[in-house]
Amino acid sequence: MTSVVYSENEDRHATPRDYLSGGWSIRSWLLTVDHKRIAWLYAVSITGFFFFGSAAALLIRLELISPAGDLLSAESYNKLFSLHGIVMVWFFLIPSIPATLGNFLLPMMIGARDMAFPKLNLLSWYIYTLGGLFTLAAVIAGGVDTGWTFYTPYSTLFSNSAVLAAATGVFIVGFSSILTGINFIVTTHTMRAPGLSWLRLPLFVWANYATGLVMVLATPVLAVTLLLIALERVLGIGIFDPALGGDPLLFQHLFWFYSHPAVYIMILPAMGVVSEIVACFSRNPIFGYMGMVLSIMAIALFGFVVWGHHMFVSGQSMYAGILFSFFTFLVAVPSAIKTLNWTATLFRGQISFSVPMIYALSFLELFTVGGLTGVFLAALALDVHLHDTYFITAHFHYIMVGGAVTGYMGGLHFWWPKLTGRMYSRPWATVAALALLIGLNLTFYPQFLLGYAGMPRRYHSYPEEFEILQVLSSLGAGVLALGYLLPLIYLSWSLRHGEKSGPNPWDATGLEWQTPSPPPVHNFAETPVVTEEPYAYK
């Protein structure tokens, strides 16, 4: 093993040069093993996919402005929401915080020079890109119409769309999250700075560590499931085909065994981000640190035993349903502990409404709505009514957009000065943060009402009495789009023209703030020694 790319910045004892000064050649980016540069590779790729997936959502919302299915055929509509789901789940949400902010910050927060396996880290980005190419190929081949869940027997026997290419893309991209997970786990275990014991770790590190565990344990099950789907589609093996003795419900079990924990892959890192921001901008240590750590691990653990709540009406046994319902109620407990602790952290704090804080407070509101409606859905009888309606769509968008995306945006604004050494325009950023909060509520709150009134998901036309709520929802999507486009503009602008931020503009604790911005190639001039508890704000 030779370390090729380090060599040009090798000398550890010279004056530290920042990680961007190594040059802007294509080679310096595509062959880098610096976790900070890899974070940028990911950030650019996921942003591309995010706007790709958003374009699909935009078309969906445009179609739904009028009750008649006039803009898109039912078939194109199916393909658009499938594309939206596949791209957003696997190519944006899963890698969003871990692969960008996590990649950049996890080694810095524990006082390390890099991840334990820098080359695997780069490899994971290449795998991600390869998976992305397959997904694009699926789109070019005419799209896929199975929904992001690839339910059998439709996906294996009946769908005439590019299921194989899309499934291959998802299969491949899974290995990139496995590699990221392995890196997070090993780095956290073995590379903490002297004095940084487990219970002194920032909650962002705990959250990404737990995410790594979920990635490593859940993703391979998705891989083997998609492998079976591909074999079934190509070779006609009947594992999921009832006509050949197979069991379509088995597919749903295997699929959700991955895909429910995947929700926690999305939300746990966002919870980590919010912990950092709330503590910093209320100048208070996190309330109940130990409870927060235990809740993170409990969410990761319970996340593995609730998958059956996706199948309450799929014909699984009633007793299984009762058990899964019970566990689903249980997972609400650590989530509630976290929400209460964040609120308690605010108590008697010196709260400042900086941009990251607006995102964090939005997260609290949105996550609470999303979480509480999840408790409704955990109830077996109620779920029979609400299953496959807009209520579900609204619930998980509150968690995924309201939770994961808001957390990502908050983290991006919190650590942007560290990532780039520059500060963005605060007035514009405030507008964007508020647009996200308002737009999101306006888009998805009406969908709760639609679902409660019984409107099912996945239809391109609907009865006229739903028109007002659907139009409101589409209006909200427009506001939401503003909340996404503005940051793209003012953040890009700040790269060149933003004022220099200095190493610690927020006066925050944490090792990542004790090094220059942008950080030097090996993060720290010398390995830091930790002597105090986390969040020592008072």
Partner: protein, 225 residues
């Protein structure tokens, strides 16, 4: 346990600088081992999903699956199990020899491990061939003529059998490729302390393939009712 402890690094001829992200060799060694263990956890769940699918169908069609298992060659599989378990032993001996800085012995044990692995694959290949000849290989357009009851369900059994053993064989090929690289490295014998660590990591992977086979052997061959 193979010797992967820190003392080996204290000998002057063994000293190698750690990679830049690590503080010292011990940290690097620890990270490498933990990385492989976590990777094996992933592999375990990859096969776990397959075994779960098998378990559910096995319960659903207990009689047909038990009957179908009689059409697999238990003798060949038992020989293969013996070969693979022995290869686990020879791999361990290779690690011990490298730890004791006995280069030649390590080379021989590694070679033995590779040969045992290849023998396993050869027998497995022969087994597949005889299943093909008995028209029990329902792959692509090949004819499937199962003499027992409910051939459609038995076909499911054979499909799962070929997926599981096929996936395992792919892992064997990867494992053998790793061992061939290790053989070349041990023959060259530079930085013995590093070889020691790499052999240990390779050995973990090899042991994992053994364990998976034990599960396949039990589930597909021994559960014959």
């Amino acid at each position: 346990m193979p010797t992967s402890s820190g003392q080996a690094g204290t000998r002057p001829e063994d000293e190698t600088p750690p990679e830049t992200q690590f503080d010292d060799m011990d940290q690097q060694r620890h990270a490498g081992l933990l990385g492989m263990w976590v990777f094996l956890l992933t592999e375990l769940l990859l096969f776990g999903g397959l075994f779960a699918a098998f378990a559910i169908l096995r319960l659903q069609y207990a009689n047909v699956f038990a009957e179908a298992a009689h059409h697999l060659d238990l003798k060949l599989a038992a020989i293969n199990t013996a070969l693979l378990l022995s290869s686990g032993l020879t791999m361990m001996l290779a690690e011990l020899a490298a730890g004791a800085r006995l280069r030649k012995v390590a080379v021989y044990w590694l070679l033995a491990t590779i040969l045992l692995g290849l023998a396993f694959l050869a027998i497995k290949g022969f087994e597949w061939y005889s299943e093909f000849r008995h028209q029990l290989m329902p792959v692509l357009v090949l004819p499937f003529r199962y003499p027992g009851e409910q051939p459609a369900i038995a076909e499911l059994f054979f499909n799962l059998y070929f997926i599981a053993t096929g996936l395992h064989a792919v892992h064997m090929l990867v494992g053998i490729a790793i061992l061939v690289v290790m053989l070349a490295l041990v023959r060259r014998w530079r930085r013995p302390d590093r070889l020691d660590r790499q052999l240990h990591i390779a050995g973990l992977y090899w042991a994992f393939i053994d364990v998976v086979w034990v599960f396949i052997f039990t589930l597909f061959y021994l559960l014959r009712g």
